[in-house]
């Protein structure tokens, strides 16, 4: 399933993440985070995992991470996916 429209979720507040998602043929992920060097791979793996759980096979996802824990990141990506799939 592909994302149908541009959508956002989350905030730029501490411990949160701001997710922007838009239609794309493949999955493309862009990450900005102060802990990218230490946890970048892990964050991207989490995002891919949530996209897969949501059945999203095509989307461009931009993540602005503000130190979000895994459960917060998962929630924000899932919310963005659901909003992006709404007609």
């Amino acid at each position: 399933m592909k994302v149908l429209k541009k959508a956002t979720a989350g905030t730029m507040e501490s411990s949160d993440a701001y997710i922007e998602i838009e239609p794309c043929d493949d999955v493309e992920i862009e990450l900005s985070s102060v802990v990218k060097a230490q946890f970048g791979d892990s964050i991207i793996e989490t995002v891919k995992s949530v996209l897969s759980e949501c059945g999203v096979t095509g989307a461009r996802v931009k993540i602005s991470d503000r130190g979000a824990l895994d459960c917060v990141l998962r929630a924000r990506v899932e919310t963005a996916c659901l909003r992006g799939k709404e007609q």
């Binding site: 979720a9 507040e13 949160d16 979000a68 824990l69 459960c71 929630a75 919310t79």
Partner: protein, 288 residues
């Protein structure tokens, strides 16, 4: 043991993930008033994930869902019930039917999940004049109801009076809820004290609630948690007396005596019951 219940806004990660470290006996994840209509979906998923992956320590978890007359109610229940919060707080409960409507849907979802009946309990939030008048039928409406909770902000709006720190305008509601809850055999919780900078006011307000018979009190600020816990905890003197009562009862039983006296006062069934409650609470406090 649930002396203090701390409200946390459901769409604020930095508060949710630290909630269990703030000293409250229970955390209330708020999906209702603290969340704007456009963010209900995000909050619902965030709270679900916090329940699923977060470390709640010894904190009880309560989710304040949206009221049954909104489109959000069933979505909230669907999202959070699989994570087994201890309680669902049901806002704007005004009559028995409100409880039964919520109970029916929660039962349906529990069955689908394969949970034993009444795994997740209910705490109706009474915050309307009609709700206050129907407090007993609400408290006794279902075995799922574990406690009732007074919400004074909405109630005073409904009563068309000003909410004051002294709280004379809600004295009737407070006493009515305590009597209703005790008659129905459930716990009862007092409304938050909303001035987070009035350190003396919260002590007076909590002591008043304790004196009226409330089980505990909610808070909208972590600053109030310690005071509430202290006010609703038994003192060392009360704990010592409770152990004395239980020792005296044990001795009387061994000696085949019926009525006994302690320090010149008759020890009867209500005193024994209260002593046992005090000991249970003291033992629970030691675990924290």
């Amino acid at each position: 043991m649930r002396r203090s219940m701390l409200f946390l806004p459901g769409n604020t990660p930095n508060m949710l993930i630290n909630g269990s470290a703030l000293g409250a006996d229970a955390i209330i994840f708020d999906l209702e008033d603290a969340v704007s209509p456009t963010e209900k979906d995000a909050a619902r998923i965030l709270v679900r994930n916090t329940l699923k992956y977060g470390d709640m320590g010894r904190c009880e978890t309560i989710v304040r869902v949206n009221s049954i007359d909104t489109d959000f109610f069933k979505k909230d229940i669907d999202a959070v019930l699989p994570e087994k919060p201890n309680l669902i707080m049901l806002p704007k409960t005004s009559c028995e039917k409100d409880v039964l409507t919520a109970d029916e849907y929660i039962t349906e979802v529990e069955k689908k999940l394969g949970f034993p009946e009444n795994t997740v309990r209910l705490m109706p939030l009474i915050e309307t004049a009609l709700g206050v008048e129907n407090a007993f039928e609400i408290a006794a409406a279902s075995k799922r109801v574990a406690a009732i909770f007074l919400g004074a902000e909405d109630l005073t709006a409904d009563l068309r009076c000003r909410r004051t720190k002294e709280g004379r305008e809600i004295e009737y509601a407070r006493t009515r809820l305590v009597v209703a809850a005790r008659a129905a055999g459930v716990d009862v919780y007092d409304t938050p004290f909303t001035d987070v900078n009035d350190d003396e006011g919260i002590v007076r307000d909590a002591e008043n609630a304790k004196g009226l018979g409330f089980t505990g009190k909610a808070s909208i600020s972590p600053r109030h948690v310690e005071v509430i816990n202290a006010v609703f905890s038994p003192t060392q003197k009360e704990i010592d007396y409770a152990y004395e009562v239980m020792d005296a009862i044990k001795l009387a039983k061994e000696q085949g005596r019926g009525a006994i006296a302690l320090h010149g006062k008759m020890v009867d069934a209500p005193i024994v019951l209260r002593a046992q409650q005090t000991i249970d609470m003291a033992e629970e406090m030691q675990k924290r």
